[in-house]
Each structure stands twice: as structure tokens, then as C-alpha cells.
């Protein structure tokens, strides 16, 4: 009966309801598609166009990439961002996963919930606010942990923010603001591990370490990959932290620490829009390829 109905009522091979739903689907995504084109696709296209042309608008091959790469600050900036990313991603994976597992094991629900909440609070201070807070924390003359800084051999603000320490300091700032949110996400994912899987591990005599290592972490893998991808993409864009620090550093930190600071400098201080576009394109290519590798190797989006 159903078969007859659908074959008589449809013009082609698809039943009419599907057409109607298909049109509705397109209507529902229309607004998003317009924004996607205007603020995702077009600027990317624009960046690529500027990266491969010169100031006069004629095709210039890779010359913008070569000029910017030969800039004396470029390799330094690449190195800074790479070291920062290494610190940032490792600390994020180790401590976020560790803390989530520990919080999940807490027998007191109230304690676990309050701790998650308190850990999350710095998330409200993202952006310029977190940098300002840490400028204070790192300034031995006002810091509540100035004795700790003193023990580590730092007595002036200038000593703390010496160029060699910056990658670590930016990691601390980023972890302080970002970790709480990811702990909440990981905790949610841990909650979703089916009860019988945990019970089975328990019955098999697995201790806390074994359960975490062999059951929970593998089941968190997708979320960890997701976190690393987003943290990588965000970390490669480092801008506000070094920029504000350079404003406050009594001349210790420069305005050319990160790649995005360099694009800003090329575009707005040196009037080299094409060079800035070339660096932007490089950042995009790296971010998207790294994400692509992670996605492909982990099978993150297999479900689709």
C-alpha cells in the first residue's frame, strides 16, 4: 500500500514530502550560507588574491611569501608560536584530561560540581582581561605570589617577562582562561560513557588507573582530538596576549612576537597589505592542514 502511494504521488524517484523538506532545508540554511560566503569564503578568497598579487594588482607568484619569509622577524615569530603551541597543547591535554578524570571520581557530587564551577570562572576573563590579570600576577611588586616569584629568581617585572619566558607565560594565561571550559566538556563526555562499560571494568578488577587508561581515555579520544584541533587553531592566532604585553612591558617585549602581530605590522604599519595577506594565507593553510591530518587519522567525523 505504501509503496503504491509513494510511486504514484511522486514526479521522479523521490516522494513529494522529500522535495518539500529539501526546499525547507535550503530556506533554513540560507541566512547562514550568506554569512558563510560573506565572512568565510570571500575574505579567504580575498586573502589568496592579495597574497599572489603585488601592490599594483598584477600576479606576482610567490614573491610576497618569499619577501615576508625573508623578513628578519618572520622565523623568530614562527619559532615563538611553535614553542607556545607545544607547551599549550601538551598542558591542555595532560591537565584537562587528568583533572576531569579526578573530578569524575570524586564521591561527593557537590564538591565535583563546585570545583568545575570555580575552575570555569576564569573563562569569563577571556581576551584582554586575562592578560591584564596576569600582568598583575607576574609583577613581583604587587603579585600575591611574589614570594614564589622571588624563590624562582624573579624580582622585577622585566625579569619575569624576559623574552625566553614568554611562551610559558602565554601558556599559563591561555590555560588559566581556557581549561575550565574543556574540563566541563570532558566531564560531560565522561558522564556519557555507558554505565555497563564502567561496571564491566570494575567487575574485571580494573583499578582507577587501568579504568582511566584503558576505558575512559580511549572513549574520550574524539573529544580530546576536537579540543586539540580547536586549541591549535586558536593558539596559532596568538595576538592579544603579546600585543598587550608589548604595551606594558617597559620595552622588554616587542610588537613582533607572534605571526598575527607580524600580519598586523605588515598591513597597518608598513603598508604592505600583500605581505600581510601572504602570512594570513600561510596561517590558514597550516591551521586547516593540521586539523585535516588530525581529523583524518582519528576518524573524528566518521559518524557523519
Amino acid at each position: 500500500m505504501t509503496v503504491v502511494n509513494s510511486s504514484t504521488s511522486s514526479a521522479g524517484r523521490r516522494p513529494r514530502g522529500t522535495d518539500r523538506r529539501s526546499r525547507a532545508g535550503i530556506a533554513f540554511v540560507a541566512g547562514y550560507v550568506i554569512l558563510l560566503i560573506a565572512f568565510g569564503v570571500l575574505p579567504t578568497g580575498y586573502a589568496v588574491y592579495f597574497a599572489f598579487t603585488n601592490a599594483g594588482g598584477t600576479f606576482s607568484g610567490f614573491s610576497n611569501f618569499i619577501t615576508t619569509a625573508q623578513d628578519f622577524r618572520f622565523m623568530d615569530a614562527v619559532g615563538h608560536v611553535a614553542v607556545y603551541l607545544l607547551f599549550w597543547l601538551v598542558s591542555l591535554v595532560v591537565f584537562v584530561v587528568g583533572l576531569s578524570l579526578l573530578l569524575h571520581r570524586l564521591s561527593s557530587g557537590v564538591a565535583s560540581k563546585s570545583l568545575r564551577f570555580l575552575y570555569y570562572i576564569p573563562g569569563a576573563l577571556a581576551g584582554a582581561a586575562s592578560v591584564l590579570v596576569w600582568l598583575f600576577m607576574l609583577d613581583p611588586s604587587v603579585s600575591p605570589v611574589s614570594s614564589l616569584l622571588g624563590t624562582l629568581g624573579f624580582h622585577t617585572f622585566g625579569e619575569v617577562i624576559a623574552p625566553g619566558n614568554l611562551a610559558l607565560l602565554f601558556t599559563i594565561i591561555a590555560f588559566w582562561t581556557g581549561a575550565g571550559g574543556w574540563i566541563v566538556v570532558m566531564y560531560g563526555a565522561l558522564n556519557n560513557i555507558p554505565k555497563d562499560v564502567m561496571e564491566a571494568a570494575h567487575i574485571d578488577g580494573a583499578n582507577a588507573w587501568q579504568t582511566a587508561w584503558c576505558v575512559q581515555i580511549p572513549m574520550l579520544r574524539k573529544w580530546i582530538v576536537y579540543m586539540v584541533i580547536l586549541a591549535f587553531a586558536a593558539g596559532a592566532q596568538l595576538f592579544v596576549e603579546p600585543q598587550l604585553l608589548s604595551l606594558a612591558s617597559v620595552g622588554v617585549a616587542g610588537r613582533d612576537y607572534s605571526l598575527n602581530q607580524l600580519t598586523y605590522d605588515f598591513a597597518f604599519q608598513m603598508n604592505n597589505i600583500n605581505g600581510a595577506a601572504a602570512v594570513s594565507v600561510e596561517l590558514l593553510v597550516v591551521s586547516v592542514s593540521v586539523a585535516g591530518i588530525f581529523v583524518a587519522r582519528s576518524g573524528f567525523f566518521d559518524a557523519d
Binding site: 529539501s22 533554513f28 575574505p43 576564569p122 576573563l125 582581561a129 581549561a179 566538556v185 600585543q243
Partner: protein
Amino acid sequence: MSRTHLQAPARRRPTRNLVPRLLTGSFLVVFLVFFVLPVLWLVLAATKTDQQLVHGNPLSIGSWHAFKANWDALTGFQDNAIMQWLGNSTLYAVISLVITLCVTIPAGYALAMTEFRGRHSLLVATLVVMLMPTATLVVPLFLEVNAVHLIGSMWSIILPYSFYPFGVYLTYIYFSTAVPKDLLAAARMDGCSEFGVFRHIALPLATPVIALVGFFSFVANWTNYFLPYVMLPESSQMPIQVGVGSLLSNVPSFNPAVGTTAIERPQLALATLVAITPVLVVFLFAQRFLVSGMLAGATKE
């Protein structure tokens, strides 16, 4: 597999696992101090004079008088610029939030629940752009906005903020995992239009994800620095983030070259508090969804 069998080992745990439990506890407490101490210090700093900040106990409370003086000095800076920045931020964040929700929720719903030509490519495009945060696109966006003569207009940041692929992706995950398709099919069978299904069935079920997308997008827009820094260079148009950054360059102890319009450190701490208050308020409202593990259901396979 009876309950009693499972609970028997648990009862012995406290004595056997005392050392690991102490280690766990201290680990959690160390991180608690790390996360909370700076916030606590910041709140207290706003109630002190610069002298007290340097010489007093870092965790002491200042005085109402000092707080009032800091407040007056802060609002006195550039003739109450801080309130103007706060107003700007609110305007930008709220308008873009409304646009984001109106655009994002239907899009995520359609990607999860309907079939249409180009659905798969749109999903892939969303994943790709999700990985390229606006920061890399700031210079290209500047060029694009400059080409249509919108530099210095609030739309130059509101419209890019409204584009929020992460929200589309979250909504997509939510609808494809937490809302059964049968439910929508039943409503269609009862004669509901496609819009009616969305409006009457999907939307009420989507409250948690709307709260989540709204919260994330509000915080992302409120805390964005690079884009408005480039697009809205005039002080009267700055959002609070950029404004607070410009206050920083007027603090003599961080930047000795400052002239007469100096700002002291407690006033900067107060400005930072002012900048985060709206986010904290929104956060308190949204935390029910956030901390209670709203992702419950979103990850089932």
C-alpha cells in the same frame, strides 16, 4: 551482577586508598588556587590604593573610600570613556547575538534533520571554517569591509561576529543525536508544515543548545580584541576590551612614558572587573547548562 555485590568493595575504599585520595585532593586544591586566586586578588585590588597594593597584604581588603576614589578616577578618564566602551560592547554583542541565533539554530537543524542538495558540502565547509578563527581573516576582512566603505561602522564587527560556524556545528550535533527523527516525522504526518515542525517541535527541545550557542557566541564576541582593534580605531567606538587595552598604556608602572592622564593599577584592576561583569552575569545564568554537563546526550553513539 547484583547491587550488593558491586557495592561491597566500595565500602572498603576509604582506608585502602588514603594516600591516593590525599594526592588527588591536593592536586585538585592546587589547581583551585591557581584558577581562583587571581580572580580573588583582582576583586580585592579594586578596593585599594596603589600604595596598599604594593605594601599591604595581597589578600587584604582595602576600603570603601579607596574603591570610591578608584571609581571616580576611572570614570573621570577621558570623560567617562569606560561607560561608553561598555555601552558599545553591549550594543555590538547583543545585536550580533540575535543575528547569530536567528541564523545558526535553523541552519544546524536543517543540516541534521533534512536532506537537501549541497548539505554534505555545507557540512564540510562549516567544519573547515570552524577551524579558521576570525583572527587569521582579520586583515582580509579589513580589506573586504574597506572595499564596501564600512570601516568605522559598527556593522564591520557585528556582521563578522554573527557568522558563527561553531554554533552551527553544535546545533547540528545536538539535533542529530538528542532529537529523534521519528518525532518530527510524526508531526509531519499530523499535517505540520516544515516551519511548524521546527517552530513547535524542534525549537522547544532545543533550549539547552540555544543557551549554549548563545553563551559561547556572546562570550566570544564580548572578548574579541583583534577584529574591533582593527575595524574601529576611534576611542568613541571601541568596545570595552580594546578600551581596557588602551587604559593599560596609560598606567605609569607598566609604561613609564605616560603623560598627565595617568591611570593607577587599582583603577586598571577595577576596569578589568567592569569589563568582565557582563560575561560573569551571563555565565551565572548559563552555568546550569554548562556545568551540569549539558553534553549529556550529545555524544552518544
